[in-house]
């Protein structure tokens, strides 16, 4: 998503002094957005000192990520930021309208399976998430967040990376063992290394109007195709906390982008949607275009890319920030093992494979949504409109209506880290897919999983292991929602990765099978 490079400021920080002319660091994270901060916090919690460099001396306000998926909320909870869920606006339902019709052509519920700790989605301003992550970093004095430090040069070393950094007061050089580039769509690290960023540019402009108003609409995602208030285009409405609403209007390609954000030009659109009597205050208006593109690889020796620096998608589907947070979660436990000497650096190759695979899935989904929203030809439009017409009366056609397929954890069916099933399973998450949460005793499975590998078992008689967190639901299996969700028969077990993906599962586990699966998932035979 490409936006105004100078969005308004939510919170300003004092510039951090440069310090010594030559410095060393174990891990440098470039970029203090949600992805960089999540990487830094996760690594800090695992005992590592992280240096975070942020170009600006502020957190931006304005129109950025707002929809945080269940998986992202589980990540925040695991990082000790569970309060973010309650801070946001919870929603799971969406409605799609077409033309002037008052009845939706399609409605969906993203959380058909209830009884999980986290809701399907919450809407929360990106700056609230950044605030919480920054505050959490205060507990880790060895981790430093430096404001106003721009990376101006990147030189790969034999076993590390040398960064030239420009602070407000002086420049300096910092030699790092690892650099995690989370510095966004215009990544200075990517540009300094001259790396590729290939993909597709969509010829369309969208106006985001974040407005403040007190209104009792339900917290739902409302999407319009070709509404009377924006003919021939689409529109989207979403509720945020603090009485802020996001209105998103498709504008088409040949427009005057500066004129489009002037309040006198936005006001008629807002009133056309909300009604002429609407009482609101503008919060922030911006026009964005977007691209679907990615780097061909995310791991370049000791420089690793995550989030928007590595891949960009259209915003429909909330796959940008959620996809970046998924990168962070995939990366940190692997980097932790490498930093502690438990796994070879080659383990990070699996981050490259899995995160690239996930990026392709997200790009595919978001490109398809965009193609549905913006027909490219008369034939395209006929096909799209035929779907919308049929969807009103015939249920089959609703499956074709695509106003954004919302972020869900991407499965890695071919991941080399997974142990293929040898037994028969009727349901439950297969190896390489995300392990769903479920009720357990008075709490939740997600609260019982450890920072490392976990075993979820229905009766485990192979003894404890210091390196594994054991979650044994024992009997009575048949009545447990969790056992049904995982198809757990007596004696069966799942091996879960630290990022909550299934590594292996067995009807009849044995220490030897467990050992082999762990070794495979750790990229070495010396696991842990």
């Amino acid at each position: 998503m490409s936006q105004d490079p100078h969005p308004p400021v939510w919170r300003r920080f004092a510039p951090t002094p440069a310090g010594a002319a030559r410095q060393r660091a174990r891990v440098v994270v470039v970029g203090a957005g949600p992805v960089g901060l999540a990487v830094a916090l996760d690594l800090s919690r695992r005992g590592h000192a992280v240096t975070i460099l942020n170009r600006r001396e502020a957190i931006a306000a304005g129109s950025r990520a707002i929809c945080f998926s269940q998986r992202s909320l589980e990540t925040f909870d695991r990082l000790g930021l569970g309060e973010l869920t309650a801070r946001g606006v919870t929603w799971s339902r969406g409605q799609v309208f077409w033309g002037a019709q008052e009845r939706p052509v399609y409605a969906f519920d993203l959380q058909p399976v209830r009884d999980q700790k986290q809701p399907a989605f919450v809407n929360l301003q990106q700056y609230r998430v950044e605030d919480a992550l920054i505050a959490a970093l205060d507990d880790y004095p060895d981790t430093q967040l430096r404001w106003g430090h721009a990376v101006t040069g990147v030189t790969p070393l034999e076993e590390g990376v040398s960064l030239e950094v420009q602070a407000r007061d002086a420049g300096y050089v910092i030699d790092a063992d690892w650099v995690i580039a989370c510095d966004g769509a215009r990544s200075s690290v990517r540009q300094a290394l001259g790396l590729d960023f290939e993909g597709r540019v969509f010829e369309d402009n969208f106006l985001i109007a974040d407005i403040r108003m007190a209104q009792d609409r339900p917290a739902e995602r409302t999407f319009w195709f070709d509404p009377p208030f924006n003919p021939g285009q689409s529109a989207l409405m979403h509720k945020q906390p603090d009485n802020i609403w996001r209105l998103d209007f498709q504008l088409g390609w040949n427009i005057d982008r500066e004129a489009a954000v002037r309040p006198e030009n936005v006001d008629p659109l807002v009133r056309a949607l909300l009604g002429p009597e609407a009482v609101y205050e503008p919060e922030w208006y911006s026009v964005y275009t977007f691209q679907c593109r990615r780097m061909s690889r995310f791991v370049h020796d000791r420089t690793i890319f995550a989030g928007d620096s590595a891949h960009l998608v259209s915003p429909f589907g909330a796959r940008g920030c959620n996809g970046g947070l998924a990168d962070a979660v995939n990366l940190t436990w692997k980097l932790d093992r490498v930093l502690r000497g438990l796994s070879p650096a080659a383990l990070l190759g699996s981050y490259d494979e899995e995160a690239v695979f996930a990026a392709d899935e997200n790009i595919l989904q978001s490109s398809r949504s965009t193609d549905f929203m913006t027909p490219k030809s008369a034939t395209d439009r006929a096909l799209r409109d035929a779907v919308l017409e049929l969807a009103q009366d015939l249920p089959f056609a609703r499956g074709f209506v695509n106003s954004g397929r919302l972020a869900a954890p991407v499965a890695y069916p071919q991941s080399a880290m997974s142990t293929p099933d040898e037994d028969d399973w009727h349901t439950g998450p297969a190896p390489g897919t995300a392990a769903p949460d479920g009720p357990l005793d008075e709490g939740w499975l997600s609260e019982r999983l450890g920072p490392g590998f976990s075993v979820l078992a229905a009766g485990w008689d192979h003894g404890p292991r210091p390196d594994l967190t054991l979650v044994d639901i024992a009997a009575p299996v048949a009545t447990s929602a969790l056992a049904r969700r995982y198809d757990l028969t007596p004696g069966a077990a799942y091996l879960l990765r630290p990022d909550g993906y299934v590594a292996a599962r067995w009807r009849a586990p044995s220490p030897a099978r467990l050992e082999t699966a762990l070794a495979r998932a750790c990229g070495s035979l010396q696991c842990p």
Partner: protein
């Protein structure tokens, strides 16, 4: 089941006439949409992605 490419209709002339009548009196744009609706109805009825893939490939190959 693979795509059937041998005769499978009892009255092909009547079906052809029905397809022609589908777009009679319609503008090109309307006709495109009606044909799209028909395609969507039929692909859902077929319900087999392999058959649909085969048919789309063949449609494109013959046209090209």
């Amino acid at each position: 089941m693979p795509l059937i490419t041998t005769p499978n209709l009892a009255a092909p002339d009547a079906v052809f006439a029905r397809l022609r009548a589908l777009s009679a009196d319609l503008s090109d744009a309307e006709s495109l949409k009606v044909q799209a609706r028909l395609i969507l109805l039929l692909v859902n009825h077929i319900g087999d992605q392999a058959v649909i893939d085969e048919a789309t490939a063949l449609a494109r190959a013959v046209a090209g």
